[in-house]
């Protein structure tokens, strides 16, 4: 299983064909007062600092520039989102100006990719180590940061970025525990007060097909929604095997997917996308994760840390709505990554079809947007229009939805939303330093206590 799998590939031509910044900015501006935010003006360049320069951080930076990328999820070694075009990107209005990553080699890889499209980041604007992000945030020129480290660090990074007066694009998920989710919500509120924008990497919210479907569902296309389903049934993802000389901390950071304190486990790290769609459609979040079943059945190698390989969760939402979630990372099984809703008067996949019990099938037939680029464009347009979007709460809620599901599975007990939101249980070491760090035990339902 060393073969690489290309998941998606978008061309720059495709990007250019769409009506983008100008139109989006103008239409947003048309109905908004001309309140300028900290750095916002239609001609103010967006100057981006990237915090977390791995595959996704690199990919997000390229997406922000509208550069074509090639996304590869290998079985072994890091996942990559590299430049997939020959020529340079010359954009005055969007620039990448600084990079930060704990590891120099990871930062350099990102820097090399940018170099290939004519963007050269000087050494003095490259920051490594655990404090690298702070140094990047201290660069006054930067007005937009991409947060793409392992999710554990997101809450602290978001808070620091907002305090430093930066607009933020942050990858999902945005936390791994209750205290982290609270911090994200607080930082989101602070951003509103400061007129700063926050977009999240739950990119389906920026995908035209989803937007069209969800709008219709919220307008009652299938009546009252009674039940939803969310799936991320996929294969194993990349593993970074330990190399000689690496401390526990270094290995866990480099192989972060497999440690709950870093990734939140795959129900949080990956499945959050699908749970986010459900929350979006329903316009609310669950009251509790009522039942959770799951375990670590196949992917048991120590190189895969201690996380589970499958989860099934039943959520109770307000108004007696139930949501059933299934997530799996096991090779050789059938795949399914999607959502579905059942209403009193029909069904839909929340994405590109709606089937009313009576009446005509609706299908999304337009050209879809590239949501990985669109999410940056929407944020930038909103900043320039003086009315920055703020997705902190929505993505924090979707992350917490996944966290209560994970804890219900880990413990075998119902986990209440409110209890997790108030939780004082913080995952991970209290100090970050390269050195010993034991791997947590595999969760054992009936014995493991929920992190509340």
């Amino acid at each position: 299983m060393k073969n690489q799998i290309s998941v998606h590939q978008f061309s720059r031509r495709q990007f250019l064909r769409r009506s983008t910044l100008a139109v989006a900015g103008a239409s947003a501006a048309a109905h908004l007062p001309s309140v300028l935010t900290l750095h916002a003006a239609p001609d103010t360049p967006i100057k981006i600092g990237v915090i977390g320069c791995g595959g996704r951080g690199t990919g997000a930076a390229l997406n922000a520039l509208g550069a074509a990328t090639k996304v590869i999820y290998p079985a072994a070694g890091y996942h990559t989102e590299d430049v997939d075009q020959a020529g340079p990107v010359n954009r005055k209005d969007i620039q990448i100006v600084a990079l930060a990553d704990v590891f120099e080699d990871r930062l350099n890889r990102c820097r090399d990719n940018l170099g290939r499209i004519g963007i050269n980041i000087p050494k003095e604007l490259c920051f490594t180590g655990f404090e690298g992000y702070q140094k990047l945030l201290a660069v006054p020129d930067i007005n937009y940061v991409i947060l793409a480290t392992p999710p554990h660090f997101r809450p602290a990074h978001l808070k620091a970025a907002i305090e430093a007066g930066k607009h933020v694009f942050m990858e999902k998920p945005v936390a791994v525990d209750g205290p982290g989710v609270r911090l994200v919500m607080e930082a989101g509120d602070l951003a509103k007060k400061k007129g700063l924008g926050i977009a999240a990497g739950t990119q389906r919210r920026h995908q035209k097909s989803y937007q069209e479907a969800v709008k219709r569902l919220q307008d009652g296309a299938i009546g009252e929604i009674l039940c939803a389903r969310a799936y991320w049934l996929g294969g194993e993802i990349w593993v970074v095997e330990r190399e000689p000389g690496w401390s526990d901390m270094e290995w866990q950071l480099r192989n972060w997917n497999y440690f709950t304190w870093l990734s939140g486990d795959h129900i949080v790290e990956q499945h959050v996308h699908n749970l986010d769609v459900v929350n979006w459609v329903l316009g609310t979040h669950p009251i509790r994760a009522t039942f959770g079943l799951g375990g670590r059945q196949v992917r048991t190698s120590p190189k895969c840390g201690h996380i589970n390989d499958h989860f099934a969760v039943e959520y109770d939402y307000p108004n007696n709505v139930k949501v059933f979630s299934y997530s799996r990372q096991i090779n050789g099984c059938d795949g399914k990554v999607e959502e579905a809703v059942v209403g009193a008067k029909g069904t839909s996949n929340c994405h590109n079809w709606i089937k009313p019990a009576a009446g005509e099938l609706w299908r999304f037939r337009d050209k879809d947007s590239n949501p990985y680029e669109q999410e940056h464009q929407d944020l930038i347009a909103s900043i320039r229009a003086g009315q920055p979007i703020n997705e902190a709460r929505a993505v924090a809620e979707s992350t917490l939805t996944a966290i209560i599901g994970r804890e219900a599975v880990y413990s075998g007990k119902a986990v209440e939303w409110e209890a997790m939101l108030k939780s004082q249980v913080r995952l991970g070491p209290s100090q970050y330093a390269f050195g010993p760090l034991p791997v947590a035990d595999v969760a054992m339902p009936g014995k493991t206590k929920p992190a509340i």
């Binding site: 079943l293 989860f311 099984c333 059938d334 399914k336 059942v342 009193a344 054992m444 339902p445 009936g446």
Partner: protein
């Protein structure tokens, strides 16, 4: 074949010739049927077999347990204490005990309560021998077993034999009333269903026995060919209710599951399953079953329609069949079967319970394999898990299913 005769039986059916008895020995109409003495043989004298025997004794007048069979002599002896009037020559142990009991001419009613892997062969043999059958759920552990049960069920109908199954909710007042109200449109069109059997871990008897076969049969719950795994052995009850509500069976299943807490204990079953079943009209059934101590529990079903939701068991005490004036469903199922034998409306639950069992098997295979499993394909092509010949010695080699690696056939 061991031939036994009983003066009591002959008194009840004096007109029956030996040849006729082999074909339709206990099917009759009119007054004779109404007074027919029920002469029951219990095959499988474990907890459920003994319990079913006790339930039977409360079910109707003129009922006797006259024969007992169990693979293990000590289990047989233990159950004989409950039925001291059973004659020595009507008590059988060993691997051919069931065969010998079924051959008794003076038995007209058999209770099949062995581990489920044996049910299809016992059911087929009992129908062949012209017995009315009460069979415990589930009724098979693999597709060939289901096919055998379905075929034997049809044969029972042709022969006028009555068949009841231990899916006792179908004999429980609360369920009967609620399912009827759903069928009458009380909640509108059914949009989705839930089924739960989330409980503590069940018994594990360790590894006792001289041969692998003996070890597996004594600890039968932990071997899929014997029990069907707990989704089949236990959760079949809830799945049966959902099929009853839907008046059909699902056509496909996807699922996740595993063995989290059982660890290195002998056997290979899972301790949790979560399955999404799909009915022909697209309606989903969300099923969960777990046997892990210390987790939250729930054993019930829930049906949601466009106009509301119903817990078909009624909740609370009624869910356990204790509605005022209602008999225990464990007794009622025998009462209903005996009424059918004695000339009431015919009863043949073989197809229902075979379909509910196969629903569970389909869910199990979906979780074991990590694949979408389709009813028609699995029923046609699903492999045989139960050995063709049961003998003390080696037993089916078993290993814990690994989704993505496990092959259904």
């Amino acid at each position: 074949m061991q031939i036994n005769s009983s003066p009591n039986f002959l008194r009840r059916a004096p007109e029956a010739s030996a040849a006729a008895a082999l074909a339709f020995p206990f099917v009759s109409n009119g007054q004779a049927a109404q007074n027919l003495e029920i002469r029951a043989g219990i095959i499988g004298c474990g907890g459920r077999g003994s319990g079913a025997g006790a339930n039977l004794m409360q079910a109707a007048p003129n009922v006797k347990v006259v024969a007992l069979a169990d693979v293990f002599p000590e289990k047989l002896e233990r159950n004989r204490k409950n039925f001291p009037e059973v004659r020595d020559d009507h008590c059988f142990s060993g691997l051919d005990a069931a065969e010998k009991l079924i051959a008794l001419k003076d038995v007209n009613y058999v209770i099949l309560a062995t581990p489920p892997g044996f049910r299809p062969m016992h059911f087929a043999a009992a129908v062949e021998a012209g017995k009315h059958v009460f069979m415990e759920k589930p009724v098979a552990t693999d597709a060939p077993g289901i096919r055998q049960v379905l075929a034997a069920g049809e044969k029972a109908a042709q022969k006028g034999l009555q068949v009841a199954a231990g899916t006792q909710r179908r004999h429980q007042t609360s369920y009967i009333e609620n399912v009827k109200s759903i069928h009458d449109g009380a909640i509108g069109d059914v949009l989705y269903l839930c089924a739960y059997w989330n409980t503590n871990a069940i018994w594990h008897r360790g590894e006792t026995g001289d041969t692998e076969m003996e070890k597996q049969i004594r600890n039968w719950y932990h071997y899929t060919w014997l029990s069907g795994d707990h989704i089949c052995e236990q959760h079949v009850h809830n799945l049966d209710v959902c099929n009853w509500v839907m008046k059909t069976h699902p056509v496909k299943a996807i699922g996740v599951g595993g063995r989290a807490a059982l660890g290195s204990k002998s056997g290979h079953i899972f301790d949790h399953f979560a399955v999404e079943f799909e009915y022909p009209n697209g309606v989903r059934l969300f099923s969960q079953c777990r046997q892990i101590t210390g987790c939250d529990g729930k054993v019930s079903e829930f049906v949601v329609g466009a106009k509301g939701g119903i817990n078909p068991g009624g909740g609370g005490r009624r869910a356990r069949g204790k509605a005022a004036g209602a008999a225990s469903p464990y007794v009622q199922e025998h009462t209903d079967l005996i009424a059918a034998i004695r000339g009431g409306p015919p009863l043949n639950e073989a197809k229902n319970v075979a379909e509910s069992t196969f629903t569970a098997i389909m869910g199990r295979e979906a979780c074991y394999s990590g694949k979408t499993v389709e009813w028609d394909n699995l029923l046609k092509n699903g492999p045989r898990l139960v050995p063709e010949k049961i003998a003390w010695g080696p037993a089916p080699k078993v290993s814990v299913a690994m989704p993505g690696q496990y092959r259904i056939s």
